[in-house]
Symmetry: C2
DNA sequence: ACCTGAACACCGTTCAAGT
DNA sequence: ACCTGAACACCGTTCAAGT
């Protein structure tokens, strides 16, 4: 999975997110992380809604090492490390998140990080939860459960697509940090409100989340080694369509016949389609459990 | 080695496309995963080969460096490399699949591999398709489309679960090799047979596949860094349930209330639940498009 | 034609040592 | 208490050289 440093391919079907001013944040201060959520930014502080727990130094988070380095204050804090980790991943991709690279981003040496994280694996776990700090699904709550789940899915997808490799990071992890749980809470509220049993609400939430993360991971990842190496996604898909049409029709009749549909690049439409299937499936469950 | 070598002849004339369909496939939990043509060339000091050697000794293909090394025959072929790659991943995990490690598995040096694969990324693409060599969904075809899709899902999940890290390898790739396509063909056949339009059949197949791979990836991956470090999953889930129950009930009422359901370890039940939702969602579509 | 040795520029992690 | 230097055992990849 170690991609070559040559890749700067935008995920197809997504607005190529050019990162603006993160470089400035690279040195010093920066408790901003990279929040470029497509959602209405608003909010009191920058990182949407204060993250409750964590001993975030109130007010002066990350205000050190700009002018005079305080004697007693450490150069690093867990917060600063996590912010830098997210920023690095969003800017340069998950493969760029190495202990050495992260240290360089922070102006220290790799060995220093081990005071704040046990190892790289735990760093990535923490980063996975950190990704959910910038999104709060409770803001999309509304009476109609279908509308709520639809709005939440769109927000989640937008949020992840705007953060390079985020789904790849998340997909393989079971994230149970405070930020992830805040969003799980919002989903559970909708599904219980829709009349699902406790069991069904929990299972439906699991289904919704694993499906969505899997979908975006597939969407966000490079189509192939060729695309990762620089080929335009559009060209790759066209070539693929041609290859499919050229397959032996006796053995692959449906693949040949549906070559066009299979290689259509409209990921947003596929997302809507899949969500509609899931909601319909949930609806059956709901009306069965609570007919009215 | 590309994702789909149909239009390209491999270095040694082995028609990658014309391979006979896979014996010894999906049933059983055997973690074979290597193909039987081309005997694995065990290095002299293969470390702890706990996995029973798969397969029929193919003939003399892998006999090099044991008896007399043929003068003209190369030590490696693309087939032998791929077999060794799958074997290595299934035995030691995806992280063990390094160019150096794979070379050692084959009794050669890393640099030698670059005659057969362009780089590691393309190796992994080829490995991803190779994973589907051992399963043929057409065997599960039947009249009832629901029964067919259910049987296919179960076969796919079983196949992947039996191959360590397989879903992690696949989830992030768009696999369009001949083995993957054979199984896509089977799914398309069922969905078109159920009365879906071309568009819907293609989209439903995409939904089915991304959901299933995402689900198994979540299931197959380690729950957390703790579990990866050795903690029993059961204990981790119990602790997690405790943590969820101890969360502030004013902010996380549903998480607290459903702590038990959320941490239940019954992945098979969750799989059945999610599949039932999807099938119900497809059914709506089907009867809408083709009422009777 | 095929494989190797050696090199390059990287990794994650540990630990004694500095301040 | 916090960070560094240096080391160890790895990576992927290239390429001149061997056979």
């Amino acid at each position: 999975m170690r991609a070559m440093p040559t890749d700067r391919t935008p995920p197809h079907g997504t607005p190529a997110h050019g990162r603006p001013a993160d470089a400035a944040a690279a040195h010093g201060t920066s408790s901003d992380g990279a929040r470029s959520d497509g959602t209405p930014a608003h909010g009191p502080g920058t990182p949407a809604d204060a993250t409750p727990a964590e001993g975030v130094p109130g007010g002066g988070a990350g205000a050190r090492r700009r002018g005079r380095p305080r004697k007693d204050e450490p150069a690093l804090t867990e917060r600063v490390v996590l912010d830098a980790g997210v920023r690095l991943m969003v800017r340069d991709g998950l493969d760029a998140v190495t202990m050495r690279g992260l240290a360089a981003e922070l102006g220290v040496r790799a060995a220093s990080l081990y005071r704040y994280v046990r190892n790289k694996d735990e760093l990535l776990d923490a980063l996975a939860d950190e990704l959910f700090a910038g999104i709060d699904l409770t803001r999309y709550a509304q009476d109609d459960w279908r509308a709520a789940l639809t709005a939440m899915a769109a927000a989640l997808r937008r949020h992840l697509l705007a953060r390079r490799d985020s789904a790849r990071l998340i997909a393989g992890r079971f994230t149970t940090g405070p930020n992830a749980l805040r969003n799980i809470e919002a989903l559970l509220a909708v599904l219980r409100g829709a009349g699902l049993s406790d069991h069904d609400a929990a299972f439906a939430t699991y289904t919704y989340v694993t499906w969505l993360f899997g979908f975006v991971a597939a969407e966000q990842n490079r189509l192939s080694a060729e695309v990762a190496a620089g080929m335009a996604p559009r060209e790759y898909l066209d070539r693929l369509a041609g290859r499919l049409r050229a397959m032996p029709p006796d053995r692959y009749p449906h693949v040949v016949a549906l070559a066009g549909e299979l290689t259509a690049p409209d990921l947003a439409a596929r997302f809507d389609f899949a969500l509609a299937r899931l909601l319909a499936g949930i609806d059956v469950l709901r009306t069965t459990a609570d007919p009215r």
